[in-house]
Amino acid sequence: MAEPLLVVDRVSQRFGGLLAVDAASLSAPAGRITALIGPNGAGKTTLFAIISGFLKPSAGSIRFNGEEITGEPPHRLARRGIARTFQIVQPFAGLSVLENILVGAHLRHRARTVALAAAEQVGREIGLGDMLGRSADTLTVAGRKRLELARALATDPKLLLLDEVLAGLNPSEIRDFVPVIRGLCARGITILMIEHVMQAVMSLSEHVFVLAEGRIIAEGSPAMVAADAAVVEAYLGHGAAAKLGASHGL
């Protein structure tokens, strides 16, 4: 069997005396949606920062497409086809929506006209079609999340790292957003997502990793993980297992 597109192999990150990530291993097979969940402060965003090159891990290795990429800077990883979104959205506030997406599109297209066309197409696809001319700082939270996604998508990635793209959205906005993510997967983009909105994790992903206190404590299908009492207790606290079981049963 071919190696998964992304393999994180016993990666650790130490900040002074704090071991934020402790020999965490996970993988994201090509063409699938994989989720990374865990309680607040578990080290999920740190792990993302390592995978996307913003942090150099203290130990461990990361392979992408069969190649060793540990410690490569973010821009080179983007060139390889790894794109990410930020948990706290980072728009280029002074620029228009289209200009924001254009920055991503320029990665694969040098000529401005070609890049503009590509950016516009991505913008429409993500549902920003009628906001392309607006200044990015006038967007709503949902709009900014879409922009974050559109910009990453414009780099034409093989692997998309989504850091809580659904956080802060209301239920109807989440309902609108979920099919967009599913559509990306259908186009052949591999997705690794950090998500707090459990409903979405359950409906989107086929495989879930659970990170708690820097360690991967469980993995498996959403149903399996949700049924894992240790996970549920660690992640959601007492009494949550029953609630989750009930909502999943619907």
């Binding site: 913003f54 973010p74 060139r79 920055v103 990453a152």
Partner: protein, 328 residues
């Protein structure tokens, strides 16, 4: 800015000025204003488009001036070649300073501090090194021939600096429409986000620094040819670092015409102050400082940016009132 037409028309309008104005005082004023606009456009590439506020652009201005002068005076090199060499060496100094600072990840206040310190080091070195004429300065021999890059008429100098300014406007215009420019602006707006989108922030900033240094160095080269004398306090003095950043910030930071407009405003105010209070050292800089505070306070995007904002606001209001009228 969509078309190149505004640049062509502004330059054309400025180009005919010497046909109507014969006064040497006026032409001299305009030459100095354009010189500052050129130095300011250099700063604007790095500071305006790239968001890296340098407090030491004198380093490039002075290097351009000294290289032009020293090559002619000490090595008998042709002035035009000296001019080109001044730009090249200025760019190289930019590459060295940029390489050191950006690789160390210096941003914001620290970048401003370190650029200031580099300019000061160069000033002190120039004030003691024999090759620069140390405290005495360097005098370029009067030789009013075109091949020596000296002209009998002020108009010729005027057209030369105008051509350089035109080129710098064109560079800014092209920057706005290029991939490099898009990346540079992205780095200014949010460096992390830009890197995540595949932008090599260090290389982009370094490129901007080199381009920026080259343009400001060109202003220094021109200064040496025009005034035929430089010393450490002129070439590497804080005055040029200040004026280079003042003009784009007042005119419109990160806009094509910002430095030119800013230079016109700043220099006119300086002259105005002299008319009112007499020519005294320091007075023009006091005025510049006050204008800088007022612009940041009340028009933080500079004159051009504020006009654009106001227009957008008016358009927005009128479109809304049209919509509301439609509903009614």
């Amino acid at each position: 800015m969509k078309s190149v037409l505004p640049i062509v028309s502004v330059i054309a309008a400025l180009a005919v000025v010497p046909l109507f104005v014969q006064s040497n005082v006026t032409l001299n004023f305009l030459v100095v204003t354009l010189l500052i606009a050129l130095a300011g456009q250099g700063w604007n590439i790095l500071g305006g488009y790239g968001g890296q506020y340098s407090f030491g652009h004198a380093a490039y201005f002075g290097t351009g001036a000294y290289v032009t002068a020293i090559l002619q005076v000490r090595y008998g090199v042709n002035a035009w070649i000296g001019f080109a060499a001044g730009i090249a060496v200025g760019a190289a100094v930019g590459a060295i300073i940029g390489g050191l600072t950006f690789r160390s990840g210096l941003r914001g206040s620290y970048f401003a501090l370190v650029t200031l310190a580099f300019a000061e080091v160069l000033r002190i070195v120039a004030s003691v090194a024999p090759i620069t004429g140390a405290g005495v300065g360097t005098l370029i021999k009067l030789d009013l021939r075109a091949q020596a890059l000296q002209f009998q008429s002020r108009a010729a100098f005027y057209w030369l600096i105008l051509a350089l300014v035109a080129l710098s406007l064109l560079i800014a215009w092209l920057l706005e429409r290029s991939r490099f420019g898009a990346w540079l602006i992205a780095v200014r707006e949010n460096e992390d986000a830009a890197m995540a989108l595949g932008v090599d922030a260090t290389v982009v900033k370094l490129g901007a620094m080199v381009l920026s240094a080259a343009i400001t160095a060109a202003a220094g080269c021109f200064y040496a040819q025009y005034f035929l004398f430089i010393d450490a306090g002129i070439a590497y003095g804080t005055w040029i670092s200040i004026e280079a950043l003042l003009t784009p910030i007042i005119g419109g930071v990160g806009t094509v015409f910002g430095p030119l407009l800013g230079a016109l405003v700043v220099k006119s105010l300086g002259e105005g102050a002299k008319l009112v209070a007499g020519d005294a050292p320091g007075l023009d800089l006091v005025v510049y400082g006050i204008v800088l505070v007022l612009v940041i306070w009340f028009a933080p995007r500079g004159l051009i940016g504020t006009v654009a904002d106001a227009r957008k606001w008016v358009l927005h209001r009128s479109s809304r009132s049209v919509r509301e009228a439609g509903h009614g």
